[in-house]
């Protein structure tokens, strides 16, 4: 095993970002990930952009219900409520 094979390439790293953020990498892979990030501005930028993407999704409201859809559901609720 050579030193090189032990290192993560940038192209490999971008595939591991979700596992990394979910804490799902093995300790060894996590170490390799952290070591790479510490020395690679580009991959740090990429990871930051994924974090921003997640944050922006988090600011979206659940899609508004169309008024007709809401009315139909509330009507179904009232039918149910008045059923004996």
């Amino acid at each position: 095993m050579t030193e090189i094979a032990e290192q993560l390439s940038c192209q490999e790293l971008v595939e591991l970002v979700t596992d990394y953020l979910d804490g799902a990498l093995s300790p060894r892979d996590r170490e390799r990930f952290d070591a790479h990030i510490a020395n690679c501005d580009y991959c740090r930028e990429y990871l930051e952009q994924i974090r921003v993407t997640i944050r922006l999704s988090g600011t979206l409201r659940p899609q508004e219900l169309a008024p007709e859809a809401e009315a139909a559901l509330l009507e179904a609720f009232r039918d149910w409520k008045h059923r004996p």
């Binding site: 390439s9 940038c10 192209q11 490999e12 971008v14 595939e15 970002v17 979700t18 596992d19 979910d22 799902a24 501005d41 580009y42 991959c43 930028e45 990429y46 952009q49 994924i50 921003v52 993407t53 997640i54 922006l56 999704s57 988090g58 600011t59 979206l60 659940p62 899609q63 508004e64 219900l65 859809a69 809401e70 139909a72 559901l73 509330l74 179904a76 609720f77 009232r78 149910w80 409520k81």
Partner: protein, 200 residues
């Protein structure tokens, strides 16, 4: 009993048991659009998905007195929808194949040479990030994802659920859930990049 329920969910369960319309209204506002996205994992049209969700709400109402709180209320509701949509999808005899888990590159392979960035990500203009138009790009990118990816990112990143909650509600394996989420997020990032770098 009801050990899986938080205070807010206990209040909602009580509300439904008392046939309180406000509790129902709150639930549909929170979950209806996400539930339709979950149904669309299994059925082919929005009309059928909405139909499945409406039926499922009735099943929720009819079952609420027997709901024991072994799972959270939201997990219970989402599982009812997922199961009914699955059944309906099979009946339609055109249940969607689960999105393939074939390898799919997160970043265009042309952006690398020998595994290193040749076209590295440029930093994004901070001041543009929270603009309404940027959020619209995110919303549209999510809307146009394949159904399974869209459902997972909706629950994880819009609704803010944990990985475990999503796996339980959708009965996905840990690996599948993560692959779907990963693909969804990377596509949304790519859409954002295309939009933010347009005039750069």
């Amino acid at each position: 009993m009801e050990h899986a329920l938080g205070l807010e969910e206990m209040r909602l369960v009580e509300g439904l048991r008392n046939r309180d319309e406000q509790a129902f209204e709150q639930l549909i506002r929170m979950y209806q659009s996400a539930l339709v996205r979950v149904a669309l994992m299994y059925v082919s049209t929005r009309a059928v998905a909405e139909d499945v969700v409406q039926e499922s709400w009735l099943a929720v109402l009819n079952g609420i007195d027997r709901f024991e709180g072994r799972s959270s209320l939201k997990t219970w509701i989402f599982r009812i929808v997922a199961n009914r949509a699955k059944t309906r999808g099979q009946r339609e005899a055109r249940s969607r194949p689960f999105s393939s888990l074939e390898p799919e590159a997160s970043v265009d392979p042309d952006h690398f040479v020998d595994g290193q960035w040749s076209a590295p990500p440029a930093s994004w203009p901070e001041e543009q990030l929270l603009a309404a138009e940027t959020l619209r790009v995110v919303g549209n990118a999510i809307e146009s994802l394949p159904p399974n990816q869209r459902a997972v990112i909706t629950l994880r990143d819009i609704q803010g659920w944990s990985a475990e909650e999503v796996r339980n509600a959708l009965e996905l394996s840990e690996t599948n859930e993560r692959v779907l989420l990963h693909r969804a997020r990377t596509k949304v990032r790519t859409a954002l990049e295309a939009y933010l770098m347009e005039d750069a």
